[in-house]
């Protein structure tokens, strides 16, 4: 069970992704953790998913009879992932309307473990300033280091952050790129630990590729990052689309793991992001106003 001091009722009552449905072997036990609590999950032969509290008798990759489980947690399958909630779900999983467009390729790029807090991972995902230095020759290149001014708003119901008009020069914006281009990004943050990125498609100027990051908080300082790609690419095989995203994430990993402190400080006086990083400032303020305590260092009262 979670330490009482670590309970965050808001986070506890949200849905969190645990893994890609496709990657689960039917009829078997898989183990993971959410908010410090060990969990098992699996799916039956009809792709119906189950999540239940871990116990000694359930061992990884051994068969399980789902009908015999006495207590299961709430489950949904959305965007190809199994989602669960430890408490009482307080809201629906956010909408990604593009996901169902018939010509999109939807795939899990990877689910990767990182030694960092969930909010640090989201903040890094929102930051364009690191592109030329960390994703050199792919998402950025010197001397094109300037993050041009962009707009950040919080929706009227305070449910979601939206950053628009984010322009950045990218040598190779995606696996389908033919060369460098100014790329426009739009970011949504509809969940404290999830973000959705829209970037101009190299194939269709009127549409966007969608890259989502769903962070599963294993505990306050360890995460599993699930990366959903919903792209318009028709030529590249899954493997190269996936490999592109894994390369990017592999470059971010040591940056994330070297963040100190691992939890995101919410006190505006503690740490000022070096670049005038509007979305980071908005994200921290939004977490503060929501009263999030898990994975952060709350502002002094």
């Amino acid at each position: 069970m979670q330490n009482q001091n670590e309970k965050d009722p808001i986070i506890e009552n949200l849905w969190h992704a645990l893994g890609a449905l496709k990657e689960i072997d039917a009829g078997q036990v898989n183990k993971t953790q959410l908010l410090g609590q060990p969990l098992c999950y699996g799916k039956d032969a009809n792709d119906v998913a189950f999540v239940w509290p871990a116990s000694e008798r359930h061992k990884t990759h051994t068969p399980v009879n789902f009908e015999a489980l006495n207590r299961c947690l709430p489950v949904q399958v959305r965007y190809g992932y199994v989602w669960t909630c430890l408490g009482t779900p307080s809201e629906e999983i956010f909408d990604i309307p593009e996901y169902v467009e018939p010509d999109r390729r939807n795939l899990n790029a990877a689910s990767m473990g990182v030694h960092v807090s969930a909010p640090r991972a989201i903040e890094n995902f929102l930051d364009m300033g690191h592109f030329p230095y960390v994703h050199t020759d792919i998402l950025g290149v010197e001397p094109h280091t300037e993050v041009k001014d962009y707009d950040v708003t919080v929706s009227a119901d305070a449910c979601e952050i939206l950053a628009t008009r984010c322009l950045f020069y990218q040598p190779m914006a995606s696996q389908a790129s033919a060369g460098g281009a100014d790329v426009e990004y739009v970011y949504r943050v509809p969940h404290p630990y999830c973000s959705i990125l829209y970037k101009s498609s190299p194939l269709d100027a009127a549409r966007q590729d969608v890259i989502c990051i769903f962070i599963q908080p294993l505990d306050q300082e360890h995460i599993r990052a699930h990366m959903l790609l919903s792209v318009l690419d028709v030529d590249n095989p899954d493997i190269s689309i996936r490999a592109f995203q894994q390369t990017i994430f592999g470059q971010d990993k040591p940056i994330l793991e070297n963040q100190f402190p691992k939890r995101l400080p919410l006190d505006p006086r503690v740490e000022t992001p070096i670049r005038a990083d509007k979305s980071a400032i908005t994200y921290r303020r939004w977490l503060r106003q929501k009263g999030i305590t898990y994975g952060v260092i709350p502002a002094a009262a």
């Binding site: 990884t60 689910s111 390369t247 994430f249 592999g250 990993k253 040591p254």
Partner: protein
């Protein structure tokens, strides 16, 4: 042309990309969906390597598996100076083989810890980390005494060998498995020297050497 069955985030694949970059050998990578696709366990790949492990090369029909074996093959075939795999000196060659075996031990500890933390492999993480620290302590001492004798590399002699490239990746990626290198100063200086070898290239998780040569 050489085909390299490759996974970008694999340190064992990276060491081959590294040697080929240093030697200027052209190759064609064939991406294998190691994670999450487990393509290295698929029937077509098992035909290539029944052990179901990366990397594998196909050099004009000659198929070879095992990262250390491939390093030896590539260096023997494509390094006319015979410095990377020094067959001319029995003592030096013995040392190279000794440290190649050490690289396998690093793979089964430090690399295993990284697979556990990053890709959720079901390993005994404490045993992996303890094992890696034991090896790193031995490596650090060896390098420290070597520096004292004027040796920059794992084996005696003034030129790096395939043994340095074999041991390098999972040492330098160890923090991804929760294995700090803070207590191994000689290892840090050695990894920095490896990064300054002409032709050095990076992979995700490995940064280029910092600016300017380090003196200590």
């Amino acid at each position: 042309m050489i085909k390299l069955y490759d996974y970008e985030l694999s340190g064992n694949c990276f060491k081959l990309r590294l040697l080929m970059a240093i030697l200027g050998v052209k190759y064609e990578p064939v991406a294998v969906d190691f994670y999450p696709g487990l393509e290295h366990k698929s029937p077509w790949f098992l035909q290539l390597n029944p052990l179901g492990q990366l990397p594998v090369i196909d050099d004009d029909g000659y198929i070879l598996r095992d990262a250390q074996a491939i390093l030896i093959y590539l260096a023997s075939k494509y390094d006319p100076s015979a410095k990377w795999y020094p067959t001319g000196s029995p003592n030096l060659l013995g040392e190279v083989c000794q440290w190649m075996a050490f690289a396998d031990a690093i793979t089964s500890t430090a690399s295993a810890a990284r697979l556990h933390d990053g890709l959720f492999y079901d390993f005994d993480i404490e045993a992996c980390r303890t094992g890696a620290h034991r090896l790193f302590r031995i490596l650090d001492e060896h390098l420290w005494f070597g520096e004292d004798q004027g040796n920059d590399w794992l084996c005696s002699g003034s030129h790096p060998t395939v043994a340095d490239l074999a041991c390098f990746p999972y040492v330098v990626l160890s923090e991804e498995g929760g294995i700090s290198r803070q207590d191994y100063p000689a290892i840090r200086r050695w990894t920095d020297r490896v990064k300054r070898i002409p032709g050095f290239r990076v992979m995700p998780g490995i940064f280029p050497a910092g600016p300017g040569p380090k003196t200590t």
